[in-house]
């Protein structure tokens, strides 16, 4: 029987490095040259099937632009199992920003979080400012996954999400993992507000 796991994945990185494009390529296999800053979805989901038929479902959270003025809420990092921190290989400064985000993740997020450092815009390698050696050396030191991608051509995109799926701890029982896992040691008593027949509570007395 194949197992399914669900994980929360958060995206981080400076504005305009291609965070949303990367996800759009991964989830929809599309690319839009003229995408402006992110307006759109609460979160997207995409499933990766590993060789042993285990399926890993990513619940992917975009920053929704809240990173721009350092206004990302703690809620964004909560229960994140993995993170993709993106920089632009044609902008040295964007790698420095990525390093800041990685420090922030190490401070804010769960210590077991799987972090992938991702150098995007590989299609523009003629204008490369960040060398592969420099980035991969840093990733090694920090124990991060690392690769380069092009959201435009699709190169390397699936590979990095696959690599994350493989690195995630798939040993715990599926129910204990995932974005909405209950606190350890407590019985699951969560109330799912959306799964109620009276979802809108409309005509009820609103006093």
């Amino acid at each position: 029987m194949s197992k399914q796991f669900q994980f929360k994945l958060v995206l981080l990185g400076e504005s305009a490095v291609g965070k949303s494009s990367l996800v759009l390529r991964f989830v929809k296999d599309q690319f839009d040259d003229y995408r402006e800053s992110t307006i759109g979805a609460a979160f997207l989901t995409q499933t990766v099937t590993l060789e042993d038929q285990t399926t890993v479902k990513f619940e992917i959270w975009d920053t929704a632009g809240q990173e721009r003025y350092k206004s990302l809420a703690p809620m964004y990092y909560r229960n994140a199992n993995c993170a993709v921190v993106v920089y632009d290989i044609t902008q040295t400064a964007s790698l420095e920003k990525a390093k800041t985000w990685i420090r922030e993740l190490q401070r804010q997020a769960d210590p077991s979080i799987v972090i992938a450092l991702c150098g995007n815009k590989l299609d523009l390698s003629a204008r490369r400012q960040v060398t592969e050696e420099e980035a991969s050396k840093y990733a090694d030191e920090e124990g991060l996954l690392w690769s380069e991608t092009s959201a435009k051509t699709g190169e390397g995109v699936n590979a990095i999400f696959n690599a994350i799926a493989k690195k995630l701890p798939l040993t715990a029982p599926p129910s204990a993992r995932g974005a909405r896992a209950a606190a350890p040691g407590t019985t699951r008593q969560n109330v799912d507000l959306n799964r109620q027949p009276t979802a809108r509570g409309g005509e009820a007395c609103n006093c």
Binding site: K28, A42, F43, T45, G65, V191, C205
Partner: protein, 523 residues
Amino acid sequence: MDNHFDIIVLGTGLTESITAAALSKAGFKVAHIDPNPYYGGDEASLSLDELVQWVDHYKEDNHSVTHYGEVPPHARQYSVSLAPSVIPSIGPFISSLIASGVSRYGSFKLLGRVVIYDGGILKNVPQSKDDIFQSKAMSLLEKRRVTRFLMFAAGEFENSKELHGQENSPLLDFLHRIFLLSEATARAITYALGYCCFISETTLPALHRIRAYLKASGRYGSSSFLVGYYGGSGEIAQGFCRAAAVRGGVYILGRSVTGISSVDPTELENPVLTSDLPRFAVEVDDFPDRLHCRCLISSTTLLPGHLRTLADVSRPSISSCSSPRPFAMARCIAIVNGPITLPLDTEGSGTSEVSDSSLLVFPPGSLSGGSAISAVHVMTAGPGTMSAPSGKGILYISMPLHTNSIHSAEILLRPYLTAVLSLFRAEQQQQKTLICSTFYMQELVSCLSSTSDSLVGLLAVPSFSPHTTQGVDEAAIVAEAIFRKAASCLNGERKEINQGCEQHVFWPLLDEVEEGEGNDMQW
């Protein structure tokens, strides 16, 4: 950054955040600013190291605050609320949570027990008719009287003969005289079912609350209330802000607003469209350009004095909210060692699950050395709502105050903290050691009633309601009122061009784009 917005919202309290999300979802261009580096304002959920910073900052502003004890390890694993509250399972707030999609960002669970301190011990407050029948503490006659009252309160009591002429008499008195209830029962109903803050509170608003909470019981389980994870309101405010950001809202935290001025249209260099003229210019620390907007929504506390009297203030206008508003809240946050499941008299405790989220009510006059006129609420939280690391617990003690108090929050609340800790000790036969405690006074800015010459497009959000059970519903009601005022203020101008008068729905149906499930989602 383009520095022209339809709306600028100042403050990220719950009301402001709901308003920002609704306006952003309705298609308006919103900038949302908070001088604090965290979301939630006076209702924020903070980690313990953030709480210590908050204490230092609060002191600087000449507020009374005292803090004892060292910050324990794993300070970041705590989420403490500056204004703890519960969420009624039916009501405007939960409707907004679901209709906006924000409920998916948070986790919720049922409130565990509600207990009342009576004659030196804790008594379970029956949550249902079954509980009442099983109760051994009440005589058969008393049970029948209680049942009669609950039937009355759950029904259309507005035009009943029982209520006629009694609307403004104190609820306690009404329960004695009209329903012949014993003192203990009347107290339990007044303070742990109607959640009156003060001894003198009148019958009608309390009856509205009781009816709402009776209806709310059973929607998700036996309790009428839910509690949010990670400190509740402050966390949920972040969810509404994310919803606004997802729809294009711009977020600027940790920068103060250094000036707000109304704009004289003739001074503008390049007026874009006559109908889109900004009315306000906002100067933000570190921003080279001023931000412009046509509608400015601000929490009263962040509005400069000269603009306070010129703003249109929205108030909840429903009968359950007509109880007198407290002038201030004396609050205590105490971190203790050991799990905090509320102790209880043994009766009837077999069936329910153990929860570390509970509400303990001290009626006025119930504790010697305590308040004779205010009801004091003690909420507990812990690992069950991811509010504290395992083995630790949080006690929130709050006392509403009628008027300015000559005493500090610590003097007012210390007796309650001592009493609660000794109740735990007696029951669980183990020492509950206090790790650290913070006492503070939260003053609620009373908003001046708006005059007829208020500035067009300037909307003030009144101080949040500190009521434990009703606060979040009031936030949703006020947010909807402000949303409508802002939308009509902005549309009034557009109408001239478009000739169309679109009525904005507070929360339009969630479209597929926002549904977080399934692979075939649109971006």
